[in-house]
């Protein structure tokens, strides 16, 4: 999170309980309640037996907590025709996310490096296309990509969905790295040129070692984006590689039989575990990541 400038710390503390302070706390607590209610409902519902859900209200604490719904969601819930739970989707999401994140960061770093230091001809035009690319509604690219991947024999395959994530992630990743490298002193690069460093040599020995902070930001952005993706997984992954989000939606919107709200909520929580863990453990990096998500300059 934002670093407190030293000046802000020495602002004198106010007396504790004036009406204004009470108002501030009342507002913040009400807001916190609004933000916490869905999480609370998910948690308590996911450990209630169905009988309790049918009778009770969704805000009540469970009378007889059980982890059966979690087990069900993980290994027995029906995601469409198959009833093997959401674990398959979990591993699919991992298989999609890991290579997509690594490759899109690698490509973004090289692109950003080339754009900010080597300035190839047409760099400005490229940059403009990138800016637009960051705003393009995915739908514009969907159908041509479906056709192109089908022609290449990659449609509905793991390499296919990874490729699509690379295409969609590239504008943001390139912009992120370009902005980061553009802020580095140009003299550093010039000195390396004089010492005879080539394109890749300078990249490996000079730029990469300095890229740790922006890499962390890029990784957080891409992991949350790709893990939480629904649209692209739905269209490109194919039935064998459906990511967790798509399977979750299938579980919930199964129309046959009674809605198993406890299993649904457990599945929802399972699907959210990875991004939530990332958020809780990466703290201020997460915020920096989303802040960099906006196109600068």
């Amino acid at each position: 999170m934002a670093v407190l400038p030293p000046a802000a710390r020495v602002r004198p503390r106010k007396p504790l309980l004036t009406p204004a302070r009470l108002g501030i706390y009342a507002f913040l607590l009400t807001a916190a309640l609004f933000f916490l209610v869905p999480l609370y409902v998910m948690l308590v519902t996911s450990v209630k037996p169905m009988a309790e859900i049918r009778l009770g209200n969704i805000f009540a604490l469970p009378l007889a907590p059980t982890f059966e719904p979690w087990r069900n969601a993980w290994q027995a819930a029906c995601t469409g025709l198959e009833c093997e739970g959401i674990r398959g989707g979990f591993w699919n999401s991992v298989k999609i996310t890991v290579p997509s994140v690594l490759l899109s960061i690698a490509i973004g770093a090289v692109n950003g490096y080339a754009l900010s230091f080597w300035r190839p001809r047409g760099a400005n035009a490229l940059f403009a296309v990138l800016m637009i690319g960051a705003f393009v509604p995915g739908q514009v690219l969907l159908y041509p990509l479906v056709r192109a991947l089908a022609a290449a024999g990659l449609y509905s395959s793991l390499p296919g969905i990874v490729l699509v994530h690379l295409v969609f992630g590239m504008p943001m990743m390139t912009l992120l790295f370009r902005n980061y490298y553009a802020a580095l002193p140009q003299e550093l690069f010039m000195a390396a040129r004089i010492d005879g460093g080539g394109f890749w040599r300078i990249f490996y020995s000079l730029m990469l070692p300095m890229s740790a902070p922006v890499m962390a930001v890029a990784a957080i952005m891409q992991v949350t984006n790709i893990w939480n993706d629904f649209l692209l997984g739905l269209v490109f992954a194919g039935s064998d590689n459906l990511p967790m989000t798509v399977q979750l939606n299938n579980i919930i919107n199964t129309t046959t039989g009674e809605r198993l709200y406890n299993v649904n909520m457990a599945a929802t929580l399972l699907t959210s575990l990875v991004p939530l863990a990332l958020y809780f453990f990466s703290g201020r990096w997460f915020v920096r990541g989303i802040a960099s998500g906006a196109v600068k300059g």
């Binding site: 999170m1 934002a2 670093v3 407190l4 400038p5 602002r11 106010k14 302070r21 501030i24 507002f27 913040l28 933000f35 916490l36 869905p38 409902v41 998910m42 519902t45 209200n57 969704i58 490509i107 754009l115 490229l126 990138l130 690319g133 705003f135 393009v136 509604p137 995915g138 739908q139 514009v140 690219l141 969907l142 159908y143 041509p144 990509l145 056709r147 192109a148 690379l166 949350t224 893990w227 939480n228 629904f230 649209l231 989000t245 979750l248 919930i252 919107n253 649904n264 699907t271 991004p275 939530l276 990332l278 958020y279 809780f280 997460f286 915020v287 989303i290 802040a291 906006a294 300059g297």
Partner: protein, 277 residues
Amino acid sequence: MALTALGAYVLTFLWTARVSLSSARIFPTGDFVGLGQYERLFRNARWLLSLQNLAVYALLFIAACLVLGFLLAVFIDQQVAGEGALRTVFLYPYAMSFVATGLVWQWILNPELGIQGVARRLGFGGFTFDWIVRQETVLYTVVIATVWQASGLVMALLLSGLRGIDAELWKAARIDGIPKWRVYLSIVLPMLWPSLSTAFILLFVMVVKLFDAVVAMTQGGPGTASEVPAKFIMDYLFGRANVGLASAASIVLLLTVLAIVAPFCYARSRALQRSGG
């Protein structure tokens, strides 16, 4: 590498534009029908409704996120106890997917089981909160759920903006006896312009891409009351196999986005250059 990948961007875009000028249904055809698909598109009631929905949604969603996010940031900035915990609470929804959160909200808003049902069982027999099943109000439930998800982001951006403001300003304002709310409104808010514009761009991109939340919460229903362009395009691409019409729709959407974002980005980069940023 950059060139080929960007080529793919430009090519796919041109390809979509070309298809939008043909009579393609399941497979693209080579024929050329001019703007026929665009004419049909703008006679399509469902498309018009989806555009109208998006406009209403964009206005409410962006305004609500900015106002709530600003209030949260300002109030959290008053040296409150438990600041870290509050920030965590306000921002965690942003880490979760729209699919997951949409499903929870669908349930909380469900008239029989959710808030309405609970209130009635507690003895408030006449209590009604059935927005999600009513055509006139369903869109507002999507606004509520997505504001819940995204306003923490605005809070985080504005909070880091607030922390960047010189403490001297507050001293000067106190000496001059200017009330705090006045300082926030007339001095601090304009100073937050860079953070605000960043937040606006992020929110706007979310608006255009609005799809997951609608699918998870309402599936576009009841009827077509919560239809949005992204979902319209998906339906015609894959469900109704009308590629020409869907391509025309996506081109319209793209042009709309550019028309709104381009001047905004331009003004912003000019302003940043002038300030030496």
